[in-house]
Symmetry: C2
Subunit: 378 residues, 2 copies
């Protein structure tokens, strides 16, 4: 199979190295799109995407550019020109779910294994499990940056701001960390996992997303006092045509598997009727883990092992008709009185088991951008 790689950064170069090292004879890299003319030190390198998109020889395009445009246009054009596309670009993919339709219409594949959970063979296992089972729930810790920050907050006596600065210095957090710490990165991954697990196309902005940017030492102290830790968790369930989906910090007992997922690892869990609970753990990012997942998609294409049946994905709204127990820190605790079960301090309390919807409504009516919420696991 003749392929091209769009982008030769961390992921793109990882993909190239794995293909070259494993000497997969059936795969030939024809062209690689690089940013600058001075990077062109290999006859396959080009700075002009049209060289790739207009080359009818190229059967499959691997998009490792990141960002929305021009990645989106390149992917769309490639699909329309009858090329398969493999992409790890969760933000772009989740914001552009219509690309899956474009792929179907043009009778080519859009494969996205590396977009959720990096190297973890997650989406492929979801698709396999679905062949003879009904998936009811998926959940996971899907962001390395927040997992690293939370680990440090629990092991050292430092503030969130200090931990974040440190992470930025070490390259574990972006200069603009909001996609990670506000939970948006996880939301994209949850959205794509929902597509693969349930065949549902969900506008990611509908998924309530609470990050960890406002976490403080009192929240940490409360969790510690209760023998718990905090992780940023993505969750979705789908039964009787009701979809619940949320990204929220969760307070977890220390002796659970989720509580013990260390900094740079991700975990994803799938609950289905026959198989029951199955968990998958691995590195959520990095040149080689992500590259490995992309090359897996590529080998599936070469071996004709991708799904035969077309996805019959349908558009769906988030219902979020579920109850929970929540720890809330907010500047107006009084408005939550009806749901308050235990007062922790002037500004924080635990709700009784209540509908998430009610809490969400009160948040909207009473804004507090420094508020922190986490679910308390039963």
């Amino acid at each position: 199979m003749k392929i091209a790689i769009l982008g030769h950064g961390v992921v793109g170069s990882g993909v190239r190295q794995i293909i070259e090292a494993k000497k997969k004879e059936e795969i030939e890299i024809i062209s690689i799109l690089v940013k600058d003319q001075n990077e062109v030190n290999d006859e396959r390198f080009t700075t002009d995407a049209q060289d790739i998109l207009n080359n009818p020889e190229i059967e499959t395009v691997i998009e490792c550019m990141g960002g929305d445009e021009p990645a989106h246009s390149y992917v769309k054009t490639a699909l329309e020109k009858g090329k398969n596309v493999i992409s790890a670009n969760k933000k772009m993919l989740s914001n552009r779910l219509d690309l899956f339709e474009t792929a179907e219409k043009n009778n080519v594949k859009l494969l996205i294994e590396a977009s959720c959970g990096g190297g973890i063979p997650w989406l492929i296992n979801l698709r396999r499990i679905r062949r003879n089972d009904d998936i009811k729930e998926i959940s996971g810790i899907l962001n390395g940056t927040t997992n690293y920050l939370l680990s440090r907050l629990f092991s050292e006596d430092i503030s969130f701001e200090e931990a974040l600065k440190n992470a930025q210095k070490l390259g574990y957090a972006e200069r603009d960390p909001s996609d990670d710490i506000c939970g948006y990165d996880v939301r994209y991954k949850l959205d794509l996992s929902i597509y693969e697990a349930f065949d549902l196309l969900v506008d990611n902005k509908e998924i309530p997303t609470y990050g960890i940017s406002a976490i403080n030492d009192k929240d940490i102290a409360y969790a510690k006092k209760n023998g718990c830790t905090i992780k940023l968790v993505a969750r979705a369930s789908y039964e009787n045509d009701k979809l619940n989906a949320i990204v929220m910090p969760v307070m977890l007992k220390k002796d659970t598997v989720f509580a013990n997922i260390s900094s740079n690892y991700n975990i994803v869990e799938c609950v289905s009727d026959y198989l029951g609970k199955a968990d998958f753990i691995g590195q959520g990012a990095g040149s080689f883990p992500t590259g490995h997942a992309i090359v897996q998609d590529l080998i599936d294409l070469c071996e004709g092992k991708t799904e035969d049946t077309k996805h019959k994905a349908v558009k769906k709204n988030v219902d979020n008709d579920f109850d929970g127990i929540f720890y809330i820190r907010h500047n107006k605790t009084d408005v939550f009185e009806e749901y308050t079960d235990e007062r922790i301090a002037e500004d924080s309390f635990i709700t009784c088991k209540c509908a998430f919807r009610n809490i969400e409504r009160l948040f909207k009516e009473n804004e507090d951008e420094k508020m922190f919420i986490m679910e308390v696991e039963g």
Copy 2:
């Protein structure tokens, strides 16, 4: 695909129910072998295996009988008659590795996904990871009975004998529990995982296997004092043509993922060059989880998604050239003096980091059937 099921117990009936519930049109159950004439209440049921083995219409046989004979003869005959076989019978398969050769010779598949880790998609993921990566190490907690017993010993003040009796009452342990508590069940699973991960055929009797039958309250107390728990772990590594393989209790820090795998769950881990560390957790046994794994193999057959390339498995001896730190309780501690780093009591000690081979040799020269050994994780 026309199939037959040998055995209609816990696993066999699970397989039948999943196939029927999922209404897989491409799969037709022609015949099911049952034990007694009085079970024959369905026209597909038979008590005569020859009805199945001699029926040229049947393309695939699912062996869910357990035990060595007649399961082994039936599987061999089915393969020789050009039928694919799917089996979850780890003990029989590990003791009869030549069946893989029989399958190859007859140009049919012998698929064994359900034999290791029950419902966990483990062997399929090993085979997929291998397509573009080199696996270096595999390990796992692969026995629910011992995991249950160890959990109880750590959470309650009871003896091993009490815990075992209780487990037998609840059906979590067999009447003859030796395959589980002596580690043999895990040894079979490790042996089959080695075959899938490294293409090596290893006589399972060569894998040093230490169980938990001699564990006592002092061993538990020592682990607790050190903030640890104990799990029965299978491990193998293969690099530079050296194979290490062992089944042994391991003392693990409480904040590790392995330490937090609860009773009825199994975990398996794979370490490879590009993907790094990947873990898979799920139910290790049970009618539906195991049935699910068997039906996955069946769907792969139907969809032509089994491995195209023939396994080039070769025979291999276990080298076990590795160092470790070990906790040992033995009636002759003096003979280990050279390796003793810390004396815990009259009858127990910790070795300095030493070659496992030396310890093994001393065990052989100084028999003590009530001795207990566990590796102490760095």
